[in-house]
Symmetry: C2
Subunit: 312 residues, 2 copies
Amino acid sequence: MTDRIAVVGAGLIGRAWSIVFARAGFAVSLFDSSQEAASNALLFISARLPELHAEGLLMGSAPDAVMQRISLAPTLEAALDGAIYVQENGPERADAKTALFARMDDIAPKSTILASSTSGIPASVFTEPLRGRARCLVSHPVNPPYLVPVVELCPSPWTAADVVARTRDLMTRAGMVPATIKREVTGFVLNRLQIALVAEAFRLVADGVVSPEDCDATIKHGLGLRWAIMGPFETIDLNAPGGVEDYCARYGGLYAQVQAEQTPLDLTPELVADVHDAMRAHLPLADQPARQEWRDRRLMALLAHKATQLEK
Amino acid sequence: MTDRIAVVGAGLIGRAWSIVFARAGFAVSLFDSSQEAASNALLFISARLPELHAEGLLMGSAPDAVMQRISLAPTLEAALDGAIYVQENGPERADAKTALFARMDDIAPKSTILASSTSGIPASVFTEPLRGRARCLVSHPVNPPYLVPVVELCPSPWTAADVVARTRDLMTRAGMVPATIKREVTGFVLNRLQIALVAEAFRLVADGVVSPEDCDATIKHGLGLRWAIMGPFETIDLNAPGGVEDYCARYGGLYAQVQAEQTPLDLTPELVADVHDAMRAHLPLADQPARQEWRDRRLMALLAHKATQLEK
């Protein structure tokens, strides 16, 4: 029997999750309290599927077959009925998540996993009083998840280990790459890594070391090429003949020195305006939606390219 | 007339630079005080060119044509004769660079630019007493430069602005992407960005938040995909409807919070061993050379893929 996934909330992230689960063969029940949002989501999905198909990104299914796996649920109860897993994409506010998870915990079959897409609210904040709190966690995607495979699984202190393990399995079946965040930290892992790098980028611009454009070039024509293939640890492991230990022996001193120079970033209005204006020189804000579409087309093509490459 | 480039030092970096300049149509005089190193470099280059050609990475030239543009110079004097630009790749020690640059400054025609590939020694350290110090700078590549286009141009306080401008032009003609580092800082820009991210990765492992493997996954199946296409500033600029200013208004608080939590990294032997061992679980050290070849093949394919994509 086909396993059923409930996707709650049909905004940008909910739509994208529907594609992820449906292309992997799951039956998807999509619910949104706004009928209009739900209908728009179906229009968005049906427009997106042929593009993904053209790039070979529907896991072998035809667009029509994927579309047929997605149904709109008239109520939250109907959406959760028979679902093994719920992916929640409601408003990014603790009070809203608290209310929604309380309701879902009442409704959902006992064994159903309840996961939130939140990018910043730890599960402990909105699940503590729930009877079923052990089955709740955060499954944080990158936007859009049908183009960016990683998903951060962030359990609360009371999430059952089995729930994390089952969610990892489920995400792997869905063609995603799960990363388990073993305890709740601000920003989880992906955003912390991004913040560490972006903060240093801002500092270097503030200190008059590099222009925003040239800073971007060092990543997109430099480090980013490696990081699209290997993680940061794999990268340094290959950068010294003896692996990570050798690398740290060679460069540990440099790490200490650079970190000593990394004073806390002061995001002054002037600094932010400098970087903002540098971006505007190449991209008027009016062109941002077109540029976002360009980015997604590029990501799609990059994923299709990666799929042609052997891991070894 | 074809412009001539001198490449001094025929180790891994010198060999790679020879390919970069020769495929772009420059005449390359390659010199190494070791005859054996020089001969090995030619063997390496002639083996590499057909692979690059197969991926469309020789800028339209045939391997033979590229090879014919590279000649071994019998002496440093012969190498520098008629060269508009020297790319130095000697031992990574200040005393060695000081001696070599003094000699090159004596030999080279007045207008010749003298650049070092050093990844960590600022030009001010090895050029201060030279008559021609205004024509000296660092042109720091990523290894290997024929696969990773960015090159950091790092002038000393006395490097002439015109020398930086001419080197930018030259690198652009050579198909590279120059990034100007406006003043000397430890690690220049690319390595500082890498250190900021890798230090946070180590911290997250040390704090029991994530395994090294899952940390790598958040980059290679997440952020790295974007960063292979866009720099960090371009990325955040597209992540909020109003661009960088809007992004900073939304996430400035998160940046402050995460940074407050980023205590200085302590690279203890235990932490280093944990990460090292995690890498060994998938890659015995004996397989490292094969894995480095895999990485270079993947980089080659990725570059070839990027070349098929429109920037807009």
